[in-house]
Amino acid sequence: MKPRDVELLSSYLDGQLSPSDSARLESRLKSEPELVSVIDDLRAARGLLRQLPLRRAPRNFTLTRKMVGQNPPMPRSYPVFRFATALATLLFFLTYGLNFLAPQFTSQQVYGMGGGGGGVESFSAEAPAPEAPAATEAPAEPELALPQPTMVAPVPPVEDSNRTLETPFAKSGETGNALAQDQTQAQPQDVAPLVPSTWQLVLAGIAFAGTVLIVLMRRMAIKRWK
């Protein structure tokens, strides 16, 4: 049996042949029993498939918005509000941080620029330096006896440190006055914020109101969508 004949028979069964082709095939079917056998086979196979029961779907395949990744349509102004809120929140925290760090920054600047006057801390840091050799000189004799005295710098006695603190004041009474002036000048700078608190309040207000507005807009959009 030629594949072409099988194809013709199959199409004939489905009524897909032109009238002339059908007539030609029908005349062949009368004279060729082999064709009849094949068309019976094809008809039987098709009949079996057609009588297969159509199963009901085990569940509904209807889609939810979540399944197709749909989001509720937001108002056009929504992105603007969202951006403004995000910006206000960011700026609020930025200004808050600046105001928090500003006093520390200014105080460091004040102490660092003290020059000859300096502060108490700068005295304590600088003063022992010239005294240190004197302190190490004192135990010069035991140093020879012990193997590692050069490694450990002896702590100057409390009296010595007091002396070193007192020494600059004693040497120069004006320096002490300058330090006192510096400190009194630094005090008001610690208190004054870099960004006015009014600005911070405005930013916080915008951030809060924006957040509330965004939540409301979302809720309304979802409600309308449902």
Partner: protein, 202 residues
């Protein structure tokens, strides 16, 4: 049901309109997937995937037979599943009888409206047909499912599988012949008209 109006609404994002279409076609889509994959759960998953994919790409539908378009989507979902199975083959969990042998017709295929005898016969015949369908090459199987089980005409089948009409005719004829040969192995299960033809020829 105004199919064209529903399709247009769905193309504008109306999910409810698309769900109405789903309710109309879900049995056909599920049955197509079931006959291609031969497994209820996989068929249900493929049908669901096909509907999701169809909704997402419904704007690409440019008219013609919506059923054919849907069938192409589910066929693609089934092909994806078969490719996945090929990459990661698994052993099917066929239910066993009390003797520990594999059951020919699982009980879960039964239709609750039939008598036990009818159920048993129908199940076994369905199982035999499914077995023979599974033995067909995929391109033959798809064509025969569309034409003989879904009752689509040749043009719709050609649209679905995207091959020329002549190829559809050829594949369908060869698929039917192969099925016939395969089903002869299940002679005792076949309906009387089918058996009588065999006996007459012998």
């Amino acid at each position: 049901m105004n199919e064209q109006a529903l399709i247009q609404d769905a193309q504008h994002g109306d999910l409810e309109a698309f769900n109405t279409l789903i309710l109309h076609y879900q049995d056909s889509v599920f049955n197509t997937a079931l006959r291609i994959l031969g497994d209820d759960d996989l068929a249900a998953d493929a049908a669901q995937e096909a509907f999701i994919s169809a909704f997402k790409s419904i704007t690409a539908f440019r008219g013609g037979s919506f059923k054919a378009w849907l069938m192409r989507t589910v066929t693609n979902a089934c092909y994806d599943e078969l490719r996945r199975q090929k990459r990661r083959p698994t052993t099917p969990l066929e239910p066993d009888t009390d003797d520990g042998e594999e059951m020919d017709s699982p009980r879960w295929l039964a239709d609750p409206n039939m008598t036990p005898d009818q159920k048993s016969e129908a199940d076994e015949l369905e199982h035999a047909i499914q077995h023979c369908l599974n033995n067909l090459p995929l391109e033959f199987k798809t064509v025969v499912i569309m034409a003989d089980i879904q009752g689509m005409d040749y043009t719709e089948v050609a649209t679905t599988v995207k091959v020329p009409l002549g190829t559809i005719k050829s594949r369908l004829a060869r698929a039917r012949l192969r099925l016939r040969e395969c089903l002869q192995g299940f002679e005792e299960l076949l309906p009387s008209f089918f058996r009588l033809e065999l006996e007459g020829r012998a």
